[in-house]
C-alpha cells in the first residue's frame, strides 16, 4: 500500500494550524533563562530551560521583540535591581509561535519581575538556612574586633566609585591617624566577582603571617544597584565566614542586606561608613587614652593633695612635738639653772664663810707668830741686856779677866796678872793672896 505523503511545508503548515487551533494565545511559563543575546535591531534572543539536579529537562528558544524588550527589561531591572540575564528564573507571558522555516519558539510578551524577586528571596533563604545549619552564619563574629585597626586588607576595585571615597576618608582624617592598608583587586560585580573576591580573601590569608592585618574590608561603591547577586553567593559567604580575620563589609546598596553582609563580622551601609567606623575606633581609643590621662592626672592630684595634707599634718605634729620638747627642755634647763644658782650660792656662801674663818684663823696664827717672834726678840733683848758687860759695869759691878778669859772660868794662882773693868777704868793687878770665898762655898 502506497503511503500518501505530504510536503514538509504542508506538514509544517499543519503543525502550525494545529498549534494555533489547540493552544491558547498566551501562557504564563516558569523557566530559567539559559542564555540571552541582544540582537542587532534591539531584539533579544534567549533560551528558556528547565533543570533538575543539573540536568536539562526542557528547552525552547524564545525572543523578545525590540519594543517589548525595552519596556520589560527596564521594569524588571527597576523592580529586582538586576538586569535580565542568563541564570535568572523568570515567569514570562509567552505565546507559542511556529514558523515553517524556523521551527517552534516562544515570543515573550511580558515578564513578572515579582516572581523573580520571590524566587531570589527563596534561594536566599535557602542559602541562609544552609549557612546557619553549617554554623557559618555567626562564625566570623567570633573574632574580637581590634580596638584600633591599623593594618587593613581591602578587597575592592580601584574603579569602584566607593573605593576612592573610602581611601580619601582614611588618608585625610582630620586627626591624622596613620592607617596602613593594602588593596586586593577584585571585580565587585558581575560573574567574575565571586571567584575574584574568594581569590583575594585566600591571597590575604596567605599573606597574614608576614603582614598581620587587623581587619579585612570588602567595599563597593553605590552607583547602579545592579548585579549585586554575587554578594548573595553561598561560596563567597562561606569563604567570608571562614576568613581568618574579622570581615567588615561596606557594599553600597539600598535593598535588604546581602548574605555577605549577614556572615561578615560587621556590616555597614557604605564604604565611607566603614572608613568612619575604623576611624571611630581610633578616636574612641584616643578618647579613652585622654580619659585615662585625665583620670591619672586627677588621681595623681588627689593623691598629691592628700600626701601634702598628710605631710603638712606631720609637719605640724613634728613642729608641735618639737616645741613641746623644747619647752620641756627649757623648763628643765631653767630648773637646773636655778638649782645650779642655788647650789653655787650656797657653796659660795659656805666657801666664803670658810674663807673668812680661815682668814681669821690665819690672822690669829700670824698674830700669834708675830707675837711669839716679838716675845722671843724681847727675851733676846733682855738676855742681851742682862749679859751686856757694860750694863753690869754701869750698875757698879766689875769684871775681871786673866788672859782675856773671865776669872770664874779658870784656876787662879798667886802672881797671876788680872785685868779688871769697871764703869770708868781698866785696872791691871797681880794676885798676891788667894783665898777661898767661904760664902759661895757654903
Amino acid at each position: 500500500m502506497q503511503q500518501q505523503a505530504i510536503s514538509l511545508l504542508s506538514l509544517n503548515e499543519l503543525i502550525k494550524s494545529t498549534l494555533d487551533s489547540h493552544l491558547a494565545p498566551t501562557y504564563w511559563v516558569i523557566a530559567e533563562i539559559g542564555e540571552l543575546r541582544a540582537g542587532v535591531k534591539g531584539h533579544a534572543y534567549l533560551d528558556l530551560i528547565e533543570k533538575s539536579e543539573g540536568n536539562i529537562l526542557a528547552k525552547i528558544r524564545g525572543n523578545i521583540w525590540s519594543y517589548t524588550y525595552q519596556s520589560i527589561s527596564r521594569k524588571f531591572e527597576s523592580t529586582t535591581g538586576t538586569a535580565l540575564k542568563g541564570g535568572l528564573k523568570i515567569m514570562a507571558l509567552v505565546s507559542v509561535q511556529f514558523h515553517e522555516l524556523y521551527g517552534i519558539s516562544l515570543v515573550i510578551k511580558d515578564i513578572d519581575p515579582n516572581f523573580t524577586l520571590g524566587e531570589r528571596a527563596r534561594k536566599r533563604q535557602e542559602i541562609i538556612s544552609r549557612l546557619t545549619n553549617e554554623g557559618l552564619i555567626d562564625l566570623n563574629r567570633q573574632y574580637v574586633l581590634p580596638v584600633v585597626s591599623q593594618k587593613i586588607a581591602i578587597i575592592s576595585s580601584v574603579t569602584a566609585a566607593g573605593y576612592g571615597d573610602f581611601i580619601n576618608q582614611l588618608d585625610q582624617n582630620p586627626q591624622r591617624y596613620k592607617i596602613h592598608y593594602q588593596l586586593f583587586q577584585a571585580a565587585m560585580q558581575g560573574k567574575d566577582a565571586v571567584p575574584q573576591i574568594i581569590q583575594a580573601i585566600k591571597q590575604i590569608e596567605d599573606l597574614l603571617v608576614e603582614e598581620k592585618f587587623d581587619l579585612l574590608v570588602i567595599v563597593r561603591g553605590g552607583g547602579a544597584q545592579t548585579d549585586l547577586d554575587c554578594f548573595d553567593d553561598y561560596e563567597l559567604a562561606k569563604t567570608i565566614a571562614n576568613a581568618s580575620l574579622p570581615v567588615v563589609t561596606g557594599i553600597g546598596h539600598e535593598r535588604d542586606e546581602s548574605i555577605a553582609d549577614l556572615v561578615a563580622h560587621t556590616q555597614l551601609k557604605t564604604p565611607t561608613a566603614v572608613a568612619s567606623f575604623i576611624l571611630s575606633g581610633f578616636r574612641e581609643f584616643e578618647d579613652s587614652l585622654h580619659r585615662n590621662l585625665v583620670t591619672i592626672e586627677r588621681r595623681t592630684q588627689a593623691r598629691l593633695k592628700s600626701e601634702e595634707a598628710g605631710l603638712s599634718d606631720k609637719t605640724h605634729l613634728i613642729t608641735n612635738l618639737f616645741r613641746q620638747k623644747l619647752n620641756e627642755n627649757n623648763l628643765s634647763l631653767e630648773r637646773y639653772a636655778q638649782q645650779a644658782r642655788r647650789v653655787s650660792l650656797y657653796r659660795t656662801e659656805k666657801e666664803n664663810i670658810k674663807c673668812e674663818h680661815l682668814e681669821q684663823n690665819l690672822r690669829k696664827i700670824i698674830d700669834r707668830k708675830l707675837k711669839q717672834s716679838e716675845d722671843r726678840l724681847g727675851q733676846y733683848e733682855k738676855t742681851i741686856d742682862r749679859l751686856n758687860p757694860q750694863t753690869l759695869l754701869q750698875r757698879g759691878y766689875t769684871r775681871t779677866e786673866k788672859d782675856g778669859i773671865p776669872i770664874n772660868k779658870q784656876k787662879l794662882k798667886i802672881g797671876d796678872e788680872l785685868v779688871t773693868y769697871n764703869k770708868m777704868d781698866k785696872i791691871t793687878s797681880l794676885i798676891n793672896k788667894l783665898e777661898t770665898n767661904e760664902k759661895q762655898n757654903r
Binding site: E359, T383, I384, P389, Q390, G404, I405, P406, K409, V419
Partner: protein
C-alpha cells in the same frame, strides 16, 4: 758689819742671834769680844724687829686689800 746683817733673812738673823746669845750665856769671851757680840746681837734684834714690823705691815695691808 751692819750691811752684812741687813742681807740676812729673818731666820738666818734669828739663828745668828740665838748662837750669839748662847755664847754670851756661856760667858767665856773677853771684854772686847763680849762688847762686839752684844753689839752684833743688839743690831740683829733691831733688824729682826724691823723685819717683823714690815711683815706685820704687809700682812695687814694684804688683808685690807681684800
Amino acid at each position: 758689819m751692819k750691811n752684812k746683817i741687813d742681807n740676812l733673812s729673818y731666820d738666818e738673823a734669828i739663828s745668828r742671834l740665838d748662837h750669839l746669845v748662847k755664847q754670851l750665856e756661856e760667858g767665856e769671851q773677853g771684854m772686847d769680844e763680849l762688847t762686839k757680840m752684844v753689839k752684833e746681837a743688839s743690831d740683829l734684834v733691831k733688824v729682826c724687829k724691823q723685819k717683823l714690823k714690815m711683815t706685820s705691815d704687809e700682812i695687814k695691808k694684804a688683808f685690807e686689800e681684800e
